[in-house]
Structures are given as C-alpha cells and as structure tokens.
C-alpha cells in the first residue's frame, strides 16, 4: 500500500469492528468524508469472535430491562435493514432439571415487561422439533432470536461506506496522536513499514477492547475491564433454532446454529492482557460439560474450532466478574479530558452495533455542524457480491449454480469455489490492497471447515499463483501464516476425531512437505559433509 504521508479527512474512525464499520456507513450516508483505520482486519476482534446471535432481548429481560428493550428494538431494525445477514431461526430457552425454578417461573413475565414475545412450548413438542434437546429438559419457551453473520454485516457496511467515498486502511495501527490544545491535529498511523499522518476534524475511537489503549495514546484515560469469552464450533449443525439455557446468564448457555455448524459458548473470564487471546483447554471443557446438560450430543460431538474474544466492558468500580458488568455501550465525548474532537464508542453488543454507530455519528455530526439525519434505521443495507461468502452453506449452492469448466472448488469442506476467491481477491485488490490468504479466509469459508486449511490452503495458493497474484516464495509463507491463524482456534479442541485431523495436517505439511523447515533446505545442500551432519 502506498499512502501519501499526510491524508486529510473529516472523520477518522479507529477500529474496523461491527461498530466502526457501521459508523463509517452511517457517516458516509450523511455525506461525511471518513477514513477507517484498522490495525488488523475487519472484525478481527470481538466483532468476529462471538456467537453471531441477534438477541431477542430475552437473555437480559430479567436482569437488565433497558438492554433487553434495546436488543428487541435493534433486532427488529436489523431484521429489516440487513436481512441478508440474518437467518430468522427463532430460539428456545430451555431449562433442565436442577435449574432455578423461580427464574423459570418469572421468565415470560420479565420478557413481557420488556415487550418480548415468548411462548411456552411443551417439552415433548420441542424435542420433536429439536431432537438434540436433553430429555432432562423441564421447560421450554420460544423467543424471536435469530442468527446474524457479523462478518457479512461489517463487510457490507464497509463496502457500502466505500461506495459512498469512505476509505479503509487495513493493517494500519494508530501509534500516536498529535494534540494541540483541545484538538487532535493528526493521528499517526503505522501501515506496514510506513507511517502516515491523518488529519481529521473529528476522531472516533471504536477500537472495541483496544479503545482504552487508543484513548490512552490520545491522553484520555478511562477505566475498562476485559472479559474473555470462549466459544466452540461443532463439526455438524446440531439444531435448527438458537438454544439458550433458561437461567441467569452463565457459562455455556447459548448454542447458535450458524448455517452448517453450531456455535456453543461462552465463558467469561476477567483478563488483563488483550493480545494473544487463546482459548484454553479448561474453558473448552467447561463449555462442553455445561452445554451438554442442555444438548447431550455435545458430549460426543466433533468440534473443529474454538475461539476467544474479549468483551470490552466499561468498568464499574469494584466489580470483578465481567458478566455482571453492564453489557450496555459507552459513548465518551472526552471533553472532560480536554478534547473537543475525540470520542470513544465501546462496549455494547453485536445486536446494538447500529444504534451505537448512530449515537457516535450524532455526536460527531453535531460537532461538525452536519445536520443530516441518520439513515441506517431506514435504508436497507445493499448486498455486495464480494461479501456474500462468509455465510455457511451458501457457497455450495452458489458453486452448484455456477460450476463449469472454469470454476472449481478450492475448499472441499465448505465447498468454496475459485470464483468466490476471485471475487474476494479482486475486490480487495481494486481497493489498492494486497490480499493475503488469511484475508480470504476471513471473507469466506476457506479454512473454516473440518480440515482447517490443510487441503484448501494449498489449492487456494496454487490458484492464486496460476492467476499470477502470488509470486516468488510467497505461497508457502501465506500457507504457514494461515495455519498459524487457524491453529489458534484448533489447539484447544484437539481430541477425538479433530485430533486425528490435526495430526494429518501436520503429517502432510511437516511430515511430507517439511514446511516448518523452509529456509533450511540450503543447509542440506549436496556439497555438505557426506559423513555426518549438514554443516550450517
């Protein structure tokens, strides 16, 4: 990427998660010029590491009525405005023997008070529709939960924003702020080896869990705690509907049908460090054991992946457990930090990301003197062809529709075709980006299936060489980077069949191809000492 060293814009958004991308679109729709800088990639943080649940609000009805009502209202808006990212699966709340009777008894009235419709379902009837439910279930309520694809949401938000003039800088990390009085003059952003200065009238910090670090750089400290949540991805889909545990929010109480797989979680652990977020064996075990009480098949299920995200929770003093901290969002204008053109929007939930963006945009526009109203609640999000590939189960159909001589499958597990990869690659490329295999993985199902990249990475790289996109020794590096990224999610679920799969992956890539030794080959040059060790 080759950016001029100084870039000017009206608004700089820091962070390309669900909030940042929604904000970019919101501002772009109001005619405000903006740049979004993202240190990694779209949804690389908690935005891409959650259930993908569009909350009906029922989960919060008992404890946090405001949040519940907000979820209900926002959920309804998203179902209309971003229908393509949502599967209206419906959801069950299920209590099993031993769960709190009072909570069960009060559940529907709590929901009713928040305006959330529930319907009690006979346990037998529910089990007929969802055979995976435990025979120990004692109460089932139906709620209007749905699944949402956060990647598609953010990618399409960003794609729309870009079509309206917004700019995106991926892999660009904010490294400093140039302050002048109550103003931030410029933001220093490192993009690869280069550093650029972005001069913006307004800066919005939407860095999610990293919002505190960014604000600190700007000299605007605020308190925040981090709650790590781990989730598991199953090998096959377990149920049609979202299945929630009917009890106060706790570990492993949500099972999401995500297209062709199911996502189970989550845990909540207070953490201090943000990077290097690995799901641990203990967290995984906790989820499996706890969720199996609701869905017994999970005890023997093959899991293909685990991932951990960090919930940014704006601190309330003296609270240790992340789960009891409000899931509400926080919008800071930082005026008490002596800044008039800086704002932070963080916390919140996937379901309310649009609302958060709206509030932040309102603030920014007020400061900029822009009076145009927010359009995101009334204007449907346009479909972008290159953003369709994150939806599980979609690519097989697309391929079966298109497949011919020129369109072969690169990923067999999830059936992603060459044309999908081309669309993603070309879209990134046309924005002046240098797409990597990992970028393609984020925007498609490549590497997300059972083989976790062992086969598809090789085919995709071969495909990109053939297209002339990859040169020299880049392919092997890309494969290994990709494996490294995938490994993070695999490591904690490696037992049973998935351990065999991982062993096969290592047998092929290390045992057969010796990829871990890349760069070492010259040391085994034929002119080395024939009698013994190859001398370096």
């Amino acid at each position: 990427m080759n950016f001029p060293s100084i870039i000017q814009t009206q608004v700089l958004i820091i962070g390309g998660g669900v909030t940042g991308t929604a904000l970019a679109r919101d501002l772009a729709l109001r005619g405000v010029d903006c740049i979004l800088v993202e240190k990694d990639d779209i949804n690389a943080g908690a935005s891409g590491r959650n259930h993908g649940l569009l909350h009906s609000g029922a989960r919060y009805a008992a404890g946090d009525r405001a949040a519940a009502m907000e979820c209900r209202a926002e959920g309804a808006i998203l179902k209309r405005m971003a229908a393509q990212t949502i599967q209206d699966t419906g959801g069950y709340f299920v209590a099993v023997q031993g769960d709190d009777e009072r909570y069960i008894a009060d559940f529907s009235s709590h929901c009713e008070r928040s305006g959330i419709s529930t319907r009690a379902v006979e346990v037998a009837a529910a089990r007929a529709l969802e055979p995976a439910l435990s025979e120990r279930a004692i109460a089932v309520f139906e709620v209007p939960d749905a699944s949402i694809d956060p990647f598609r949401l953010s990618l399409e938000n960003m794609a729309h924003a870009r079509s309206l003039g917004a700019r995106l800088m991926r892999r660009s990390r904010v490294v400093g702020f140039a302050r002048e009085g109550r103003q931030i003059r410029a933001v220093r952003v490192r993009s690869g080896a280069e550093e650029v200065r972005i001069e913006a009238a307004q800066v919005v910090n939407a860095a999610g869990a990293w919002a505190r670090e960014v604000a600190l750089l700007a000299g605007a400290p605020f308190g925040m705690t981090y709650s790590k949540g781990t989730l598991l991805v199953t090998h096959t889909r377990l149920a049609r509907r979202v299945v929630n545990r009917l009890r106060p929010p706790s570990n492993a109480d949500i099972m999401m049908p995500g297209g062709t797989v199911s996502i189970v979680g989550t845990t909540s652990t207070r953490v201090d460090a943000l990077d290097d977020m690995h799901p641990t064996a203990a967290e995984v075990d906790l989820i499996v054991e706890e969720a199996a009480r609701m869905l017994p098949a999970l005890a023997t299920m093959r899991f293909i992946r685990a991932y951990a995200g960090v919930r940014p929770l704006v601190a309330a003093p003296g609270v240790a457990d992340g789960r009891t901290v409000s899931r509400g969002y926080a919008l800071f204008d930082h005026e008490d930090h002596g800044l008039d053109n800086f704002a932070t929007i963080t916390g919140g939930k996937l379901t309310t990301c649009r609302l958060m963006a709206e509030r932040a945009a309102d603030l920014v526009c007020r400061r900029l003197g822009v009076t145009r109203p927010c359009l995101t609640a009334t204007m449907p999000l346009p479909v972008a062809a290159e953003c369709e590939w994150t939806e599980p189960g979609r690519s097989p159909r697309m391929w079966m529709r298109s497949h011919g001589l020129e369109d072969t499958l690169l990923c067999e597990c999830e059936m992603v075709s060459g044309s999908a990869v081309d669309a993603i690659y070309d879209a990134l490329r046309s924005a002046g980006d240098t797409p990597t295999l990992t970028d393609i993985g984020l925007r498609s199902r490549v590497g997300k299936g059972a083989c976790q990249g062992a086969f598809c990475a090789v085919r995709t790289v071969a495909h990109l060489y053939q297209r002339g996109d990859f040169q020299a020794r880049r392919g092997i590096d890309e494969i290994l980077d990709f494996f490294g990224e995938r490994w993070r999610g695999q490591r904690a679920v490696l037992w049973g069949e998935q351990l065999a799969q991982a062993e096969l992956m290592e047998a092929l890539h290390c045992g057969v191809f010796g990829e871990e030794l890349r760069g070492e080959e010259s040391r085994a040059a034929p002119d080395a000492d024939p009698a013994g060790e190859v001398s370096p």
Partner: protein
C-alpha cells in the same frame, strides 16, 4: 452353515499402515503365518518417498545428509527414541528387504545407499528423504545440477501448480520453467484427480497423446518434471515410455495426498503381503484382545460384518499407529491406547499437548506421547512389566519420537517392524515353532 468364525496364526498384526504392512511382510518372509487386521490408513497419505531419519535435534531443525550418522547422534543424545535402539545394519537389512519386496510387486526404488536425498515437492519445498522411487530419481539429480528444466502441470489438477514450484525455487533455479497443458480427453472436467490421470496414462493412446503435447514445449530443457501421475499399476512402464518419448530424463514430483505414489505404495504392499499368504482383514478392527497365559495364545475378536471373528495367535504385534490410525485415542482428559488401554506416556494435561504456535520448533508434546517398551519391543504396563510376553508394538505408536518433525516416518515403521519381528521369531522359537 455360519458358526462363529475362527482362524488362527502365528502372528496377528493389528494395523495396516506402513508399520503394519512392514511387520506382516517381515513375518511372512520369516515363514510365520500371519493374519493382519486394519484399514488402508496411513499409507494413503504417504508420498512414496521413504524417509529414514532427517532432522535432529528437532528443536534445532538440523538436517542431516547421512541418516545413519544422524541415528548415531540420536543414540548418543536421546537413547529412548525407538530408532536409537536399532543398529545400523538391521536398519539397512530391513530397508533392503522392504524395497526389494516393493520392487517385486512392481514399485521400483533407486538403490538406497547411505545418504539422504533432496526432493522437490508440489508445494515448492525441498524435502529431505532416503528411499526414492525410480520415477522421482531424475528430479533428485536435476535439483542438484539445476539444468534448464521444464515443469508441466495439467489444468484441473488443483493441488499441483508448476508455476508455483518454479516461482518458489526461482531464486535458486532460474532455469526452471513451467507450462500448463490440457490432459488429453479431459476437456469437460473442471477438476481432475491424480489417480484418474495415472490410470488414464496406462493406456498407450493417452500416453502418446500426452507426450505429443509436451514435446513441443521442451525448448532447451534437459529434464522434465510432472506431477506424480505417471501410471499406477504400470508406473515403471509409463515412466519409461515418457523418457523414451521425450528423449530426456523425466521425473515425478510428489503431490498432495491422496497421491498416486501413496496409492502405488498401498497397492504394492497389499500385493506383497497377499502374495506371501498374509490373511488380510480389511475395514475391520480388533474389538477385544485377551491373553490365555496358560495356552500361551492371544485371542483377538475381530469386528467383522456381521458378528465377530475369533483369531487365535501365538504372538501379537500392535502397529495401530497414532490418532489418525486410531491406535491412540484421546478424549478431553487423556490419551489412551485403543485396544487394551495400555498406559500411554503423555503430558500431564491437555493444555500441554500442543504448543501455541503450530510451527513451534520443538514440536508438540502430544506427538511424542506413546507406548513405553522394553528391549524386546514389548509394551509395558503400569508396573513397567511387559503386558504379555508375546505382545509387541511397532511404528508410530511408540513413545519418545516425533516422526513428523524428525522425518523418520517410514524409517521408524520399517526398522521397528524388523527389530520387533526378530524378537517375535526368537520368542516363537522358544515355544517350539517359527
């Protein structure tokens, strides 16, 4: 009429990966009657290259030119490694017999010698290995001399891209060129599979059409590389025909599994053991294994369909492999040996099984988990005693080795099979047979 099916033998081999096949082969060579139970398994994932020992110590990623010198170093530094227990002459003998049996079954290897060789792979890496099929030898030579060389690939063969290999090696081998051709008669196929091409090339007509397509592309090339698709059952003949037709050395480059060289190896080994009278039980598993200590026999309940076959054997060799071969199974808590629950040496907890980095130079601890054995290749129980006097274990199920990182998969399988079979024969002689 169907009764409970029964059979008996001297040696029951459980497992049909490389170690299992080698064990059955060596048992038959020693004149022992043999029943072998197991799926095709690991051989399908083989590259056709026979590694012996390439990297030591793993954490230092140190490559060795002489596998025997490396094993000697291993014996000094890590004496519990299975290969450290076997002397070089046994390894040589085992490999010679193994390769000769493959040759007799139609899969010919270059003379083995004492040195590791470097082979080009489909992914653009260079692999250090020991035994090289004849069809790949010209590639070893070309990689050394780096003459002008043409790599050919076929449209539709998704895992093999000549351009990728040429690009990856371009800095070291500037005269490596690449061309893509349409495999004759595949105009309607969006994707091709290596084994299908290999079989198609066994027809003279397809072979000649392919050669005719490649010939005009040769330019100044002095050697030609193809993906490993030059024949399956008739590989030698097809390879020879290509060399004759193109009038220069032709070599195959191993591809992603399931690869043709893997299928060749599987075919040759099945042929070799079948020809030696080994009774194979395919797609079957051992449900139970019990020992009659008085009679000195083991009883295997082989899960068949329907029902169970009782196999009575005087000695049993476990060659069941690791997780992919299902010799070891792991639940969330621990790693177990699948049939008898023999204690498995393993890290204390699952958190310690794998490194946080996939490519961590020291490798993953769980890959060194496995069975502990005594000097006679007998797995040990919790008290450190042999589980049964004539129960042996070979191959990758053994502890203290990481074949994937040491590049010793075949070496481990073949050598331990040989060494264990010596012990089997000795033990059975002791009981008046063999």
């Amino acid at each position: 009429m169907t009764g409970a099916r029964r059979d008996s033998c001297d040696v029951a081999v459980i497992g049909a990966g490389m170690a299992g096949m080698a064990t059955a082969l060596f048992a038959a060579e020693r004149g022992l009657s043999c029943i072998q139970v197991g799926n095709p398994g690991g051989i399908l994932f083989a590259s056709g290259l026979l590694d012996l020992f390439g990297v030591h110590p793993v954490a230092e990623r140190r490559l060795w030119r002489s596998p025997y010198a490396a094993i000697a170093a291993l014996a000094r530094e890590q004496s519990d490694h299975p290969l450290a227990r076997i002397d070089a002459s046994s390894i040589r003998t085992a490999f010679e017999i193994f390769v000769a049996a493959l040759g007799a079954a139609g899969l010919r290897y270059a003379p083995l010698g004492d040195r590791n060789r470097s082979v080009l792979t489909s992914i653009g890496t260079i692999k250090t290995t020991f035994g090289v099929p004849l069809s790949m030898v010209a590639g070893v030579d070309a990689l050394e001399a780096r003459p002008p060389c043409l790599l050919v690939d076929f449209r539709g063969l998704r895992e093999f891209n000549a351009r990728q290999i040429a690009e990856s090696l371009g800095h070291r081998w500037p005269d490596l060129r690449h061309r893509r051709i349409e495999f004759p008669g595949t105009e309607a196929a969006p994707e091709l599979y290596a084994a299908h091409l290999a079989r198609a090339l066994e027809s003279r007509q397809t072979r000649e059409r392919t050669i005719a397509l490649v010939k005009p592309l040769l330019g100044d090339a002095l050697a030609v590389g193809f993906p490993a698709v030059l024949g399956l059952a008739r590989a030698s003949e097809v390879h020879a025909a290509f060399e004759a037709g193109l009038e220069m050395p032709v070599f195959e480059i191993p591809t992603m599994p399931t690869s043709v060289p893997g299928l060749r190896l599987l075919g040759a080994l099945e042929t070799a053991v079948s020809a030696r009278g080994v009774r194979r039980r395919h797609q079957a598993s051992v449900r139970a294994l019990a020992f009659d200590r008085e009679a000195g026999t083991a009883a295997l309940d082989v899960e068949g369909v329907p029902g169970v076959e009782r196999v009575v054997a005087r000695a049993v060799v476990l060659a069941t492999g690791r997780f992919t071969g299902r010799g070891l199974t792991a639940d969330r808590g621990q790693v177990r040996e699948s049939i008898l629950g023999i204690p498995v040496l393993q890290p204390a907890s699952r958190e310690a099984w794998h490194q946080r980095d996939f490519l961590d130079p020291s490798g993953h601890a769980v890959n060194r988990a496995g069975l502990a054995i005594d000097d006679a290749w007998r797995p040990l129980d919790a008290d450190g005693k042999p589980v049964w006097p004539r129960l042996f274990a070979v191959g990758s199920i053994l502890a203290h080795q990481d074949w994937m990182r040491s590049k010793c998969g075949s070496g481990l399988a073949i050598s331990t099979a040989w060494a264990a079979m010596e012990q089997v024969a000795r033990q059975l002689r002791g009981t008046g047979a063999g």
